[in-house]
Amino acid sequence: MGLKGQAAILGYCELPPQRKLTREPTFSLEQWARLSKAALDDAGLDATDINGIVTPMIGEAEFFVPSTVTEYLGIDANFAEIVDLGGAGSAAGIWRAAAAVELGLCDAVLVTFPGTHIVPTDERKPFVMDDKMYFGASSNAYGSPQAEFEIPFGNLGQNGPYGQIAKRYGHEFGYDERAMAKIAVDQRTNACATPGAVFHGQPITVNDVLNSPMIADPLHMLEIVMPCQGGAAVVVGNANMAKKSKNRPVWITGFGERVPYKTPTYARDLMTSPMVHAAEQAFSMAGITRTDVDMVSIYDCYSITVLMSLEDAGFAPKGKGMDFVANHDLTFRGDFPMNTAGGQLSFGQSGVAGGMHHVIDGARQIMGRANAAQVSDCNRAFVSGNGGIMSEQTALILQGD
């Protein structure tokens, strides 16, 4: 079932995240164009090679987003897709692009995720603080289950629900806060080898993490992602495009995805994340095992997301993830390289483009372009995406020739 590994990541662009924007603010559509051009230049492909796009939702269009994008860039797209899967959207966009390529719909597809939310305003077009700004991923529309049963009880945003998941995990399996902190510490080591990471040059210790403010018991501030301004784009193409590209092709050989609920309250078993299905399908499709991968890039909005993804993707036994983390070196030079560019925790999370950090982390390693953070002889990567509150998850297997 699934992909045959005939579509590859050929180039990418990832803006260095900024906590405070110093770049000129531009609209999402402008970002879409510039990020795409940079990724095409990186791949060594021409804009006229592109005949497909995948986009997230953007600020300048509530409806008809894909056609707005293709018109803006002048692309005659055979495949124009919007993905609305939050942090899973990037990985989800990559497999959709690969599928479009393998179906013969497209030679090359742009998967571009603008991630700079500060956009120009005008007194006639002011920035409006509406429900969407206040309640984020929860809908306050009349008739929305979130408007009626979540928002009025304060069950909104991310910190609270992720704190609830971590609390439940501790109840069922035990909790080692030093192991949880080590996730952030090892990733910070990787960020310190990655120029452009928002926390480059700022190593931390386990005690630093545990001494940072408690935000949503048991999660500390340094276990929680830092919102940034940035953006990313990836070019996916077929074998002919791979020949034209100047980079080592990174073939997409497996994927899985599961989207079972919106609010974790309604998970049938909150301790079994959708990653169980997503990762199993990805590995099965690629025909490789967990021990075959040379690095992993795990969506890391919170330390608990990393921990449970490691377990549910099959790298650690259920309930033993903290032992696994404590007993492995997760840095780029370690025995289990993970989030080798710092992850979003230490590289920075550029909004919905944050998920692309993990796709590009895997691609960069396989292309051999990670410089000081390069994992030696890196040919296979596992990449995860996570949207909502561990409620929509995607897995990818990436492989070099």
């Binding site: 500060i118 305003t121 007194e123 002011p126 920035f127 409006v128 603080m129 206040y134 309640f135 306050n140 009349y142 008739g143 289950p145 408007a147 009626e148 049963f149 979540e150 928002i151 009025p152 009880f153 304060g154 069950n155 909104l156 945003g157 910190n159 609270g160 704190g163 609830q164 998941i165 971590a166 609390k167 439940r168 109840h171 403010p213 408690m214 935000i215 949503a216 018991d217 999660l219 609010t263 974790p264 309250t265 309604y266 909150l270």
Partner: protein, 144 residues
């Protein structure tokens, strides 16, 4: 970023729909009433027109005890939205009713250090006349 004025932000209250109204009407009477699917042999929450998974068209409203246990919680030291700024520290919880379904709520009348998962809880009903609505929260069950 300076071209907008902050509106007055009050705590958001639920607005029942025609389909969900029996749940909220029951809360006003200090009762908890949710849906049950005979073909699934399960209670379900939140209210829907058809049973989740099977889409069976057999949902019935039934009163339940309202009692539950603490499935999980977190202490929100910062308001989850500016609308909650006046609330102070909130205990955001998932309560599992004795009949099965889980419910997003708050735990009140207890210090966080006295909470433990699995503890038995009782309903606390609070009327909000300004919204013509009754909210359901939980507190530790007395005598346990």
């Amino acid at each position: 970023m300076s071209t907008y004025a902050l509106p007055k932000l009050s705590r958001p209250l639920p607005v029942p729909t025609p389909l969900t109204r029996p749940f909220w009407d029951a809360l006003a009477e200090r009762k908890v009433r949710i849906q049950y699917s005979p073909s699934l042999d399960e209670y379900i929450f939140y209210p829907r027109p058809l049973a989740p998974r099977t889409l069976a068209d057999d949902l019935q409203w039934r009163e339940i005890s309202g009692n539950g246990t603490l499935y999980s919680y977190t202490v929100a030291t910062r308001p989850p939205a500016p609308h909650f700024a006046a609330e102070g520290e909130m205990i955001l919880a998932i309560v599992q009713w004795d009949e099965g379904p889980k419910f997003s709520t708050e735990i009140v009348n207890v210090k966080p250090e006295n909470l433990h998962l699995g503890m038995e809880l009782s309903p606390v009903f609070t009327d909000y006349p300004e919204g013509n609505i009754t909210m359901l929260r939980y507190e530790p069950r007395s005598g346990v």
